[in-house]
């Protein structure tokens, strides 16, 4: 009997130990979900996490995970009387349209995502018919994806490439001797040509003559001839509209002795560019995407909560992955949460009604719906946008430009250049 009891105790002990170990392991795998009594609210990210476009997808997922973890650690969010933990479900479409459709359906149907964030371009266009039919709130970083029929497609953070006008405005004001510019960019209609048209319009408005527009494909392995060709036109300013190849172009500009101004849409991984050229060369480069430890982000009007804390958390976990989108998808998520709270609902129509019915707070301040003039629907949120310059090897905001004011005054110039490059306008 004694021995039986002992055996039984031992079994009980082993059972309990195994159960406890299992619980601890599970809890450590899902630290913010395991013991939460909150409901789970899933948002989707249908983005490229591998391939050429991964730098404009994956860092955004890392950023959203930081935001979601912070919200969940603080007890979740209250929407319509329910408290929710945020769950970020993601799908890597590798910038492939078929995979994008598959990913969108998976996120919407299996994960029951209430909102799906995407990068933009052909992958969004592929998902749109299904997404709009099912009324899935979808976000893009490229408002040129918006069509008169895309009622539930919104661009609430990046309005690529409209904000580039602020960089040109600032340059023209700060460096009045810049009279000519050469544009180099990818020749795709989604990113490159949209940017080229915007820069051309901004240069025209600023009184800067465009002496060369060099459109290159995605198969370039050597940028020496492209840069030689550009520099032969003696531009006061070289403009990298939206190039996936900023680093090799900057490298060639450095080696071929270019000493004029450089303006670019993005300057992702600029520390690598400095390593391949020099800090002195990269200093003074104008672009549009700040680091989030920038003191200017504490100014009134900026709505992103604790930018420096976010920057530190991101760089601690992902020290080499910060890119233009690292804060953009989080900003979209935060904007959606605010509107869901205001609506008291997570359903698409309610959130959209709150978005359109209430004054929106854009991430850098301001915020008006715009877009019917170009794409047929006012579904792009346009606000202030920072002009960033590399100073002493660090990205630093110089001022916030007013995109809406520029568009109000110069929309026709932009339309003219878009049409010249064969881009869609209403």
């Amino acid at each position: 009997m004694v021995s039986k009891l002992k055996r039984s105790d031992r079994r009980q002990f082993l059972k309990r130990a195994a159960t406890g170990a299992g619980a601890v392991t599970t809890a450590s795998l899902f630290p913010h979900v395991a013991f939460s009594a909150n409901k789970t609210l899933t948002v989707g990210m249908n983005i490229p996490m591998t391939g050429d476009y991964a730098p404009w997808g994956l860092p955004g997922l890392y950023g959203c995970e930081i935001i979601a973890n912070n919200i969940n650690a603080a007890g979740g969010i209250e929407i319509g009387g329910e408290t929710y933990d945020i769950n970020v479900a993601s799908y890597d479409h590798g910038y492939d349209t078929e995979k994008a459709i598959q990913g969108f359906k998976k996120l919407a149907l299996e994960d029951e995502a209430k909102m799906v964030m995407m990068l933009g371009g052909s992958t969004v266009a592929a998902c749109l018919p299904w997404a709009m039919r099912r009324k899935v709130l979808t976000t893009t970083l490229l408002p040129s994806d918006i069509t008169p029929d895309s009622e539930y497609l919104i661009a609430t953070c990046e309005s690529h490439p409209l904000y580039n006008v602020t960089g040109v405005e600032w340059m023209a004001k700060t460096f009045p001797d810049v009279k000519t510019a050469a544009i180099v960019t990818n020749n795709d209609a989604e990113y490159g040509l949209q940017s080229a048209a915007t820069y051309k319009a901004a240069f025209e408005v600023a009184g800067i003559e465009v002496v060369d527009t060099n459109l290159h494909g995605f198969d370039v392995t050597d940028f020496a001839p492209i840069v030689s060709s550009i520099l032969a036109k003696n531009p006061d300013c070289v403009c990298m509209a939206t190039s996936f190849y900023v680093t090799p172009i900057m490298e060639q500009l450095f080696h071929q002795g270019y000493q004029g101004k450089i303006i670019s849409c993005t300057l992702d991984y600029y520390q690598e560019i400095i390593a391949k050229t020099s800090e002195e060369f990269v200093n003074g480069t104008i672009y549009q995407f700040p680091d989030f430890d920038d003191p200017a982000l504490t100014e009134e009007g900026v709505t992103f909560p604790d930018p420096a804390g976010f920057d530190a958390a991101f760089r601690k976990d992902h020290p080499n992955d910060w890119s233009a989108v690292a804060w953009e998808y989080p900003a979209i998520l935060l904007n959606w949460i605010e509107n869901a709270k205001a609506a008291g609902s997570v359903e698409t129509e309610d959130v959209m009604a709150a978005m359109k019915g209430n004054q929106q707070q854009f991430v850098f301040g301001g915020g008006n719906w715009w877009g019917s003039q170009l794409w047929g629907l006012d579904n792009a949120l346009i606000g202030r946008w920072p002009v960033v310059v590399i100073e002493n090897g660090r990205a630093r905001i110089q001022e916030y430009g007013d995109v809406a004011a520029w568009l109000a005054a110069n929309k026709d110039v932009l339309v003219k250049h878009m049409q010249e490059l064969g881009l869609r306008t209403v």
């Binding site: 996490m49 591998t50 391939g51 050429d52 991964a54 730098p55 994956l58 860092p59 020749n187 060099n214 459109l215 290159h216 494909g217 198969d219 370039v220 392995t221 050597d222 020496a224 001839p225 492209i226 030689s228 060709s229 032969a232 190849y245 680093t247 090799p248 490298e251 080696h255 071929q256 002795g257 992702d268 991984y269 690598e272 390593a275 391949k276 080499n320 992955d321 890119s323």
Partner: protein, 289 residues
Amino acid sequence: MELLIQSIVNGFIQSGFYALAAVGLVLIFGVMGVVNFAHGELVMVGAYTVWLLHAQYGVPFLPTILIAILLVTAIGALMEQFLFRPMRGDPLGGLICSIGVLFILQVVATVVGGDGPSKQVPPPYEGTLVLWDFLRVPYQRLFAIGVAIAALGLLWYFLTRTRLGWALRAVSQDREAASLQGINSNRISMIAICVGAAMAGLAGALMAPLTNINPHMGHNVIITAFIVTIVGGVGSLSGAVIASVLYALFHTFVTTYFNGTVATISGLLIMVLVLIIRPTGIMGHRVSE
């Protein structure tokens, strides 16, 4: 005039990379009869090795180049031993195997390097040579073209002045006749793929500080290598080198004076024209049945 001279120099430097990548492809096809679709990925592995060891772990650049060559050579040897040799006499089988290797190497590179942006390698040789106040050539590019010329010179010496090189050429001309002369064609095939892979590894290692490194970079390399190989004459090493110089100069000039897209399309058109007008290429010979 300044732009013209700069373009000629740009073109010659680029031709070194094209030639290194193409001669390996030609050698493997000539000796083994296999179109190695994974050749661009061998170049990519060479570049990744430099990124990993030099840029990430601080191993000096020159030893890293040697390690890249050895690693890619070893991959080539494994491909020959376990894939191409069992498929001997079945060109389609070899081609399909090489496509499989292509995907495997891309996935391995993604696992090793992680997702995200293209990898960058800071140039070990900084600075720029400036001649006559206008001609500018980065020292890194000078180093690369110097090493490429030396490697191609060594290959030429090996093929034309050594018994092994003669044997290799003999097998590429007629495998059966070479076997009748007592040449071990399996051994020669192994040497051919090792030499070809070593050239690819060297090309990747030299390109690493000058280009965006990513798992898919081999795609552009293989297209260029095919153009050069076909224009030069399939199976002709000297044709591949001459075509590399001509194609690099052509591509550079069209990119400089028109644009890169026109250059790429024109290059492919030239390949098609060569196939129609002179299928043997610049230096290839018609083989009688």
